[in-house]
Amino acid sequence: MPGWMPTKPAGKAGSRTKARASRDNNTRGQNRPRDMPPRYTTPTSPMFQAVIRMTPPVKLLCKDVWKLYGTGGDTFLDKTPDPSFEQIKAAGLIPAVRKANIEVREGEIFVIMGLSGSGKSTLVRCMSRLIEPTRGALFYDDRDLLKATDKEMIEIRRHKMGMVFQHFALLPHLTVLQNVAFPLTIQGQKRASAEARAHEVIELVGLKGRETYYPRELSGGQQQRVGIARSLADEPELWFLDEPFSALDPLIRREMQDEFLRLQGMLAKTIVFITHDFDEAIRLADRIAIMKDGAVIQVATPEQLVLNPASEYVEEFARHVSRDKVMSVGSVMTPGATGAGDGISAQLKIADVAAQVVEADQPLTVVDDTGLPVGAIGRDAVIGVLIGKRG
């Protein structure tokens, strides 16, 4: 099982090949999960060097992206190159995104988290060029997105990008099947092949048997499954999800998160996921960007956010998270020490191993992916995490 995603059930290779079968000319189809890096990249970790070596290429790069709503944002930025929040407000403009720098790496789940109105949607709409940034640069695979013509953007969106919307955005006059096949028919595919592919993705999201339903005949969760299936139909490389689960009630939301992780386990897309729910972010993210008032104030793994919040603002979020679910064995073990037992994986969360460690008489050995011992973890360290001592 790939080490980068320890909490997820392993994807069945069979269904992955099936999902991809209809487009074997897809050059990006190399099964990424196997050569993916660990998601765990704490600098203190002994694996740090290895991680550096394996850092995957940047898929999407935002460089100093600004978006100011209101008239005259452009000239304002000419005059005041690096304005503060207050300066922008004083000029009568709305600072939706302020100098955002973000690198989304291939195959990762990159979560953008922030309170309502912090500019998440605006940022992601800039990334997909649904709106033009006021300033800044966007690179997709080293290609300057802002220089792409309308026609090129249509091609890029048809074949490389997919998006899932908060309120599903299903077409009310089409059935589930037609909705899912829609992006393919837009590209001019034959109805038969488009529907064959649609059947595949509908089965993938667990809606088999509902193909002839209309969106209004489905529950919210089911509608969002359709939205997900639809965005996957044309096999995008880059997948945007703007608060996809926010309109769902908590139980369904959790179920959909599991579903989402299961799908990602199979498909390994590059994902930009937006949420205003810190728990959701922690649960899904490989890395999280925290936004406030349009600015990105920290980009880090969930574990780093909890361990080293960049500001009080971040700390406030992190305070209410159960740390044992965030922190991994590797981050609290004593590196280099030796212990008993046949080895606990360094990627496991404290919550998963707490009982085992606490019950043991002595510290237990910790091993890395390859099974080599890298340290040991003892009862004190685990209890420290559980009772919330700073670590």
Partner: protein, 675 residues
């Protein structure tokens, strides 16, 4: 009135009193010998003919030039209109032949039918099938009965001619409206140009553009179709733009993210998503086309409208009433059908593949069978082709007799009512309006504009009143204002209390709702028939007809305003110990005021548009001016009078809208526009 802020209240009162005094005695003063020398201020009461700008002659001359000489390089203007005529005529002739007259061969009156039209049975079967397809057997029965009525009462052929013109006008109106609406949605610039044009189109009475159309296309069904399309299209344009704007932004984003081209975005995302609203527009186009039926017959449409019009001219009450009822029935059938279709759109289940065609389309199969059977049987038994004349039922005598009965037995009562209103309400009002010196009236209108809408509105009002005065329309405009004003007062006096009742009492509300819905489906002319029957021609008749027509919006808006008062506020009133009366007068009515004002606005608009129709019964207002222009095909006269009516409408509209807005701002229901 608390609605006007308290300080200007007495100012308004004083101005009104001054106006009244001027109107009452002004003529006496200025006419008096020796006052201010020779002619005195006579000119202020009666605008001197020598000062009139002969705008209408210029317009007529321009029109003449357009038709006779204008040349666009490749073709002349006349060739252009002929081409349009031809393009409209072909499909119209086809549909008309299919539905009503059959295909003829041979010259003029000696033409022989070479192929019969669809049998009445076929067409009835067809609408029944459509009714069932669109909703259920109930609807099927309703439309089936409606069409049977047309056959049984001998209105079939006229009704089919009318239906043919609707069938041609509606698609043109819908496609045209949709295209313009989409253009306006895509190009905000175009939207900004289109909006005032649409406003004007909806406020200029239809009559005014009948004249130029007549001039360009000649007397005949094509002119009628063109006028119908122009009349019926504006709401479709508006609804299209609005519906496209209302498509959820997420769906639009989705379209972009899927990589839709512009055409795909429009036709595969926006239009289908907006379909339910668009269907409301289609329904509007259909209803307005039917509304035009009688008016269109003035410039050459045949069918039911022509029957009503000629009956009205002959004062053949029974015949007019029968044809009028037939229009109503046709309108109701078509309205229900189109509404059912609009609610149905989107509910379509994809059909099961595999089954044979007849099994998948039972209704179409049944209609085809009826058609073939009726065609074959109709060759031998005329009954199956045309419903036999001997079997026609008629209620004409009944109506004639009941009107006779009412007129003989209740003549005095009707006369008394009429005289009462004329003497104590209408004539004083008329004297008042005709007595106001025009410079003073202009000043007042401009001042009102300034008070409610600032200098912009004041300037617009000034331009418009000056237009009316300088083209020599002042007196007729004042008759118009008086007629419309008295009708609006009475319509509001009846309509607003009814609306309040409907808004506060659910049971009364649903009953009133049904009546209002029915009133709204009736073509405007139908109101005229019974009133003419009882009160004969004259101002009073015109006013009653206008009231009947213009009542609907005042009820609607008042009811809606009362209903949308927040229940929390009403509860607060109850807790504070208000009586029901206090609840109504202290809480509900003041808060509903903006809506009531909007209703008033709509009432005025409808009243003005009906005013022209009532020229038929001999009023001496701008409407009559247009009507005369129509009979003489005098373009300039018709247009100038038409624009004068439109300007009165626009002035009233802007002032009332502005005051409604200021009321809404005061209650915090809307943000102030500035600051």
């Amino acid at each position: 009135m608390r609605a006007l802020s308290s300080r200007p209240l007495w100012v308004f009162g004083a101005l009104l009193a001054l106006t009244w005094v001027l109107a009452r005695h002004g003529a006496g003063w200025v006419g008096a010998e020796g006052w201010l020398g020779d002619g005195g201020l006579e000119w202020a009461i009666k605008y001197p003919t020598a000062w009139v700008i002969p705008l209408k002659d210029y317009v007529s001359a321009a029109m003449k030039w357009l038709v006779e000489e204008a040349h666009f390089g490749l073709f002349t203007f006349t060739e252009f209109t002929r081409a349009i005529s031809w393009a409209i005529e072909q499909p119209y002739e086809l549909v008309r032949a299919l539905l009503a007259e059959g295909f003829m061969d041979g010259p003029g009156r000696r033409a022989k039918q070479v192929f019969p039209p669809f049998s009445w049975l076929t067409i009835t079967a067809c609408v029944v099938a459509l009714g069932h397809y669109a909703r259920d057997w109930v609807l099927a029965a309703i439309v089936g009965l409606a069409f049977l009525y047309l056959a049984l009462f001998g209105q079939w052929e006229s009704a089919m001619i009318t239906l043919a013109s609707v069938i041609i006008a509606v698609p043109i109106g819908v496609v045209g409206g949709l295209s313009l609406g989409i253009l306006a949605y895509r190009h905000p610039m175009f939207d900004r140009i289109l909006k005032p044009v649409l406003d004007l189109m909806q406020t200029i009475p239809i009559f005014a553009y009948l004249v130029p159309i007549l001039f360009m296309f000649g007397f005949g069904p094509v002119s009628a179709l063109v006028a119908t399309v122009i009349y019926a299209m504006p709401p479709m344009v508006r609804i299209t733009t609005m519906a496209l704007k209302a498509v959820s932004p997420e769906i639009k984003d989705f379209g972009v993210m899927t990589g839709c081209t512009r055409a795909q975005m429009t036709w595969r995302i926006l239009v289908p998503s907006a379909l339910p609203s668009l269907m409301v527009g289609v329904n509007q186009v259909i209803m307005l086309s039917l509304n035009m039926v009688i008016i269109a017959s003035m410039i050459g449409a045949g069918g039911l409208g022509f029957d009503v019009l000629s009956a009205l001219r002959r004062l053949d009450i029974g015949g007019g009433f029968e044809a009028g009822i037939a229009i109503v029935i046709l309108a109701i059938a078509v309205d229900r059908l189109s509404q059912a279709f609009s609610e149905r759109s989107g509910h379509v289940k994809p059909d099961v593949p595999g089954a044979r065609w007849p099994a998948r389309h039972p209704r179409a199969t049944a209609v085809l069978l009826v058609m073939i059977a009726a065609f074959i049987l109709g060759r031998f038994l005329p009954f199956f082709q045309t419903y036999p004349e001997e079997w026609w039922l008629t209620t004409g005598d009944f109506w004639d007799n009941s009107v006779k009965y009412l007129n003989i037995n209740f003549y005095d009562e009707f006369e008394a009512v009429k005289l009462f209103f004329l003497n104590y309400f209408m004539l004083p009002l008329k004297r008042f309006f005709l007595g106001i010196p025009w410079p003073w009236a202009c000043l007042m209108v401009v001042a009102l504009g300034y008070h409610f809408g600032g200098w912009r509105l004041a300037a617009m009002n000034a331009v418009m009143t000056i237009f009316i005065v300088t083209t020599g329309m002042w007196e007729k405009a004042m008759v118009t204002v008086y007629l419309c004003g008295s009708a609006v007062v009475i319509a509001s006096a009846i309509g607003i209390p009814l609306g309040v009742l409907a808004g506060t009492n659910a049971r009364a509300g649903s009953a009133i709702g049904v009546v209002i819905d029915t009133l709204q489906t009736l073509p405007s002319f139908v109101y005229l028939i019974p009133v003419v029957m009882l009160f004969r021609i004259g101002d009073f008749t015109a006013m009653v007809a206008i009231v009947a027509y213009a009542l609907v919006p005042s009820v609607r808006y008042a009811a809606h305003g009362i209903r949308s008062v927040s229940p929390e506020l009403v509860e607060a009133g109850v807790v504070a110990g208000c009586t029901r009366w206090q609840l109504l007068t202290r809480i509900r009515l003041p808060l509903a005021l903006p809506e009531v004002l909007l209703g008033l606005n709509q009432t005025i608009m409808l009243a003005l548009s009906m005013l022209v129709i009532t020229a038929l019964v001999g009023t001496r207002d701008l409407g009559q001016e247009v009507y005369i222009a129509l009979t003489k095909a005098d373009t300039g006269r018709g247009l100038v009078a038409g624009f004068s009516i439109a300007f009165i409408a626009i002035i009233a509209d802007r002032i009332i809208l502005a005051s409604a807005r200021s009321a809404r701002v005061r209650y915090g229901l809307e943000e102030a526009a500035h600051g």
